[in-house]
Amino acid sequence: MSQFSRRKLIYTGLAAAAGVSGLGVAASLAQKYGLVPPDHGGLYGLGETLTYASQRLLTRHSFAREFSRSQISERPLPNEIAPLSEPFKRLQAGGFADWRLTVDGMVDRPGSFSLDQLKSYPSRSQITELSCEEGWTYIAEWIGVPLSHVLNLVGTHPQARYVVYFSIEPDWWESIDMADAMHPQTFLTYGMNGDVLPVGNGGPLRLRLPRQLGYKSVKFITHLTVTDSMKKFGKGLGSASPEGGYAWYAGI
């Protein structure tokens, strides 16, 4: 082996060692600052973690773009959904008067809220775009109560890390970290374009979070759970989406 290539080998070895230990330090820092998504394992874990970590750092305080009233789409597209279940239809027949949102988990005062109760809290509206992972979009005015308002009412524990939210429809649930849950644009939405939220767009109650793709805005919400770990939920990947091959974090 020549002098030249031996030196090259040593340098390459040193660079590799520095790279590996650098990655180790980065991984433990990321874990400490909550930058590792629940679905960080597997073949695409690297990409998911890089995307979540970088966007969490970049967007902790940023706001989704808001549009003018004239930019509201003429027809807000109701995406296709599976046929509605019997429990939903029964509540729909009663004009959703008996619709309840239960909140439990790591909270001081677990509770259950009717739609009228939610509507009695300070109402907010945002004109934001719904972006589907497939590529299509529409803009609507979304009316509701910020999720943070309800979370403050029930009093989340300091060690809370995620809010898990469930649709009345089976196997339809997602979760978000506290940064997204407490974000002022994250709404429990009950109205759209000055009217009630149509069933096709998620009425009577949809969790709306405009800084992530449409599939994180789950329709027909009946249950919220606050937790410090996603391990106990489903397969422990964070939500139903990763179980179906989709990313838990959908900021892109």
Binding site: T51, L58, E133, T137, G245
Partner: protein, 236 residues
């Protein structure tokens, strides 16, 4: 030890980029299949008029394609592969660009000489191409003026544009940097431009491979893999 035709870093980054580009292209096509319609401006969906449609079946029954069937949904792994490849190719590209600036690679190997930029100089190269004239052995050791201009265009125009238009589709990224999408004129415009730039990059790839084959496939491949083109003569 002789100096290689292509530096180690050029060869490694070239092949990583090649792999990532194929992954991005295949996964990108899968994602398009879920909505093979393109729009201009901020919003677009099946209730609005498209700029154009690709006449293929879709993986969503929501899209009226005229075909009587719906393709299987491949978006989950396609999106994951797309973004993971994007991370790797962007990191690789950054390494290459920093190295190229530090070592003077772009100035020496890619910036055309003033004399070559004359109409006559460019025309000579075009004429050689049109006559399918095989380059001489000496020419295998540097790039001609058309190659230089094309590579510079791909590296400093097309790649940055495809990254920009990709980021402009991320609702979280644009919440932090809204100008990324507003400068382009809207999210659907970004998506449509992302598609067109991909077409341009794919056209580059096809011409690039065709010209490598015409110039001498084995010697050019050897030069990009081992660093040395070799001396054996090849038949066309």
């Amino acid at each position: 030890m002789t100096t290689p035709r292509h530096a180690d870093l050029v060869r490694v980054t070239h092949w990583i980029t090649t792999l990532c580009f194929f992954a991005l292209l295949v996964s990108g096509m899968e994602i398009v299949i879920s909505h093979p319609r393109f729009y201009w401006g901020e919003t677009g969906n099946v209730l609005t008029t498209p700029l154009f449609k690709i006449p293929i079946p879709s993986s969503r029954s929501l899209v009226p394609t005229g075909y009587g069937y719906v393709m299987p949904d491949q978006n989950g792994w396609s999106r994951a592969l797309h973004f993971q490849s994007a991370w790797i190719v962007v990191a690789t590209g950054l390494l290459y660009v920093i190295w190229g600036l530090v070592t003077g690679h772009f100035r020496k190997a890619l910036l055309p000489a003033k004399t070559d930029l004359s109409r006559r100089g460019i025309w000579t190269v075009i004429a050689n191409h049109l006559h399918f004239k095989r380059p001489s052995d000496e020419e295998a050791w540097s790039y001609n003026v058309l190659q230089r201009l094309t590579y510079l265009f791909v590296i400093f125009i097309l790649f940055p544009l495809v990254i920009w238009t990709g980021l402009a589709m991320s609702p979280a990224f644009v919440s932090a940097f809204p100008a990324t999408v507003t400068l382009l004129g809207g999210r659907q415009t970004a998506r449509t431009l992302h598609f067109f730039i991909t077409l341009a990059l794919t056209l580059f790839l096809l011409v690039h491979v065709a010209l490598v084959a015409l110039a001498g496939f084995r010697s050019r491949m050897r030069a990009m893999i081992t660093g040395h083109p070799g001396t054996d003569t090849e038949g066309v």
